[in-house]
Symmetry: C2
Subunit: 420 residues, 2 copies
């Protein structure tokens, strides 16, 4: 029998999982700094919940993994964390608003496997429900700013507002195919003005309409210059929201770029939208989100309002960048090599652990050179030799695996050195 | 549409998930102190892998959630973490031995839902592969000891060895139904000597056989007394292993109880077996494991030996005990109530976060009493009032939500106080 993984899934071996844990820990620290709390929902959901017309679109529904339990109930593996989040809000009317939560975990899509696409991948979402004001949007963007900074990633945060895009369409008298037109506008960075013009033409827009759109979306310059030029738009709601958002972001010291062409595909967004791209590869999105004020209440069939704004961090893409950066390869600080001193060495290993030093030890009397090779392959930074002589003198030999330098230390000195 | 969870699944709302995170974080800290590294494998596995005859038994196989991908491949949701672990070892011959890993995550069993049983639950496993010596068993038990201590749980660790049970059966001339007899012995604590005798009788054992077994398994007293009395057994391998194990455990300062009746159901164990029970409810198992020297190599169809020993922590049971102990209800330290000072307050919230203080803030101008109620419901220990007066004097009013006491602090003093 040849053992294989399921198609489109990945394993993360220790060196890789340590990087993933580093990312998740860093994100979690930032989420909690902003007062967001963790939530856990199951991987299994009822198919009926995931296929609600207010949940994902039909594109996503095609890719849902379906299954049945022994009671013949239709189940499915969650394809995102937003729909289960909405279900939790619907089922728990006692939750205090605003409800600020984060969640990290695997989601599943049975789609075609092209480069970089897998069928089981992790999402990491942060959302706040119950606040209509732009303060919430600002908080989420500030949180994102701090998160990417702490991960050591240089990013640009681009923002826009769906209402501005709608105003632009209105200004150009476009009443049909609005979603399609918006998706074409979104491509400006990729295909340029000429490309956008051609695609708009294929949607049967008049030259006048096309020129109107192009003149509005190709405004260049600072955020304030763009806002000023867009003042000619009749419906100013989106502009006012962006202005208010920018005024709060100033207090958070969070810099963003107002990008009139940013659209984001999902149709459930109602206001602010944003996307985080890598500074030296603007086409690589590392996360994004926006405001979706209608989705939860429609989904719940409720008359109560559930305004919401959230961001999804692209965990796998962040991982793909950081895994090559030698972030951290081991959690172990010290490897003990007993030399005919197994029991005493076990005893010492335990003392070090009680002093919170991550300690590994040869349990199998492997010999010095094999042990050094092992510690080296596992990237453990220090090795401790414990022979009878060392025990007698109460000074143990510590070797720095990077410099090769050795020194003799008492257990107390060792603890101080490794904890320092 | 009424929104429901899939049958047999649970949500963990923030207050509950915080307790689960506390458990997982504490366990992870201990695992890393002992030099174990994290591993992540997918939830989805090929059905062929999970249904291998060397994987789970037929009892487990009945409960596997099966599904198909769009390419009509047979897949399944993992029912434990041991089989995927074995698959990883099989697929990665480059892994250095010993391989010490831990893994935490959801597993799935489509079984009947009785009290306390769910269909999606988390396992937390620690295993070491590649060491035949009892040092590995001792390390795992010492790790378990420290883990439960750090969780604040008073437990008893019971150990035994499959080889001793086999010797006892041999001594009583039992060659058939060995597994069944062992499972009856395992019930001594629950059903008493009389109950065990009756059940053995129903298996058609002679009185002589029954008396032999009872006399051996009901030896009472200290570990050394039990070892001494069992010296009469012909095959002493198991006894020698227990003696060696106990000698290493002494160095680790880990106390265990040698329990001749402990059997554990799974047939793949080959040597040491152990179980962790709650001190004041000896019938409540909080984890257990043992040595399984044959399973991985059989599973891999390999001639190389893969001796292994591991423990599985009962995350859900540990959670059920700790959730009632008021461990930790929030990660947030401070809630800011701006009084006509929204922008200045946002600015201050950001300064506090940059000083690593988990800070929440009213984003919606809710009024003081509603805000105090919110902070109270969310168990946030401190509230900070920021009015114009406070800003002018550069002294902010901090309220301790437990004592009700208030004091005025500069931002610097506040950081020091909350970080202290």
């Amino acid at each position: 029998m040849t053992l294989q993984r399921a198609k489109g899934t990945r394993d993360f071996l220790p060196e890789q999982k340590i990087v993933r844990q580093y990312i998740i820990d860093t994100l979690r620290e930032v989420f909690e700094l902003y007062g967001y709390s963790p939530l856990e929902t199951p991987v299994l959901e009822r198919y009926e919940t995931l296929s609600s017309k207010y949940a994902g679109g039909s594109e996503i529904l095609k890719e849902v993994f379906k299954l049945k339990d022994q009671g013949n109930r239709e189940l499915a593996l969650r394809y995102d964390l937003t729909v289960p989040f909405s279900r939790v809000i619907a089922m728990n009317p006692q939750l205090k608003m605003p409800f600020k939560r984060y969640q990290t975990g695997p989601v599943f899509r049975d789609g075609p496997i092209s480069t970089g696409r897998v069928r089981e991948f992790w999402q990491c979402d942060v959302d706040i429900v119950g606040i209509k004001k732009m303060t919430a949007d600002a908080e989420i963007l500030s949180l994102a700013d701090m998160a990417y900074k702490r991960l050591g990633l240089k990013v640009k945060i681009k923002i826009n507002n769906r209402k501005i895009l709608n105003s632009i369409l209105k200004e150009a008298d476009i009443t049909e195919n609005q979603e399609d037109i918006i998706l074409i506008i979104d491509k400006l960075y990729k295909i340029g003005v000429k490309g956008v013009k051609e695609e708009l033409k294929s949607k049967k827009l008049t030259d006048k309409q096309i020129n109107k759109i192009i003149s509005l979306i190709s405004i260049k310059g600072s955020n304030s210059k763009k806002l000023k030029e867009l003042c000619k738009l009749e419906n100013k709601e989106g502009l006012e929201e962006i202005k208010e958002l920018l005024s709060y972001l100033k207090e958070f010291n969070t810099k963003v770029e107002f990008d009139i062409t940013l659209a984001r595909g999902l149709s459930y967004y109602t206001g602010t939208i944003f996307e985080v791209v890598l500074n030296n590869d603007l086409s690589l999105s590392l996360g994004g989100g926006g405001r979706y004020d209608d989705m939860i209440s429609k989904f719940m069939d409720s008359k109560q309002e559930y305004p919401a704004v959230g961001i999804s961090f692209g965990l796998d893409r962040i991982y793909n960048i950081l895994v090559n950066k030698n972030i951290k390869k081991t959690n172990t600080r010290l490897f003990i090599i007993p030399i005919q001193t197994l029991k005493e060495s076990l005893n010492i290993s335990q003392k070090l652990r009680e002093n919170n030093i991550n300690t590994d030890i040869d349990l199998n009397n492997k010999g010095i050179s094999k042990n050094l090779d092992y510690a080296n392959k596992l990237n453990i930074p220090y090795v401790l030799f414990i022979g009878e002589n060392e025990l007698k003198k109460k000074k143990l030999k510590l070797k720095d695996m990077n410099s090769g330098k050795e020194k003799f230390l008492t257990i107390k000195e060792l603890c101080k050195f490794l904890n320092g």
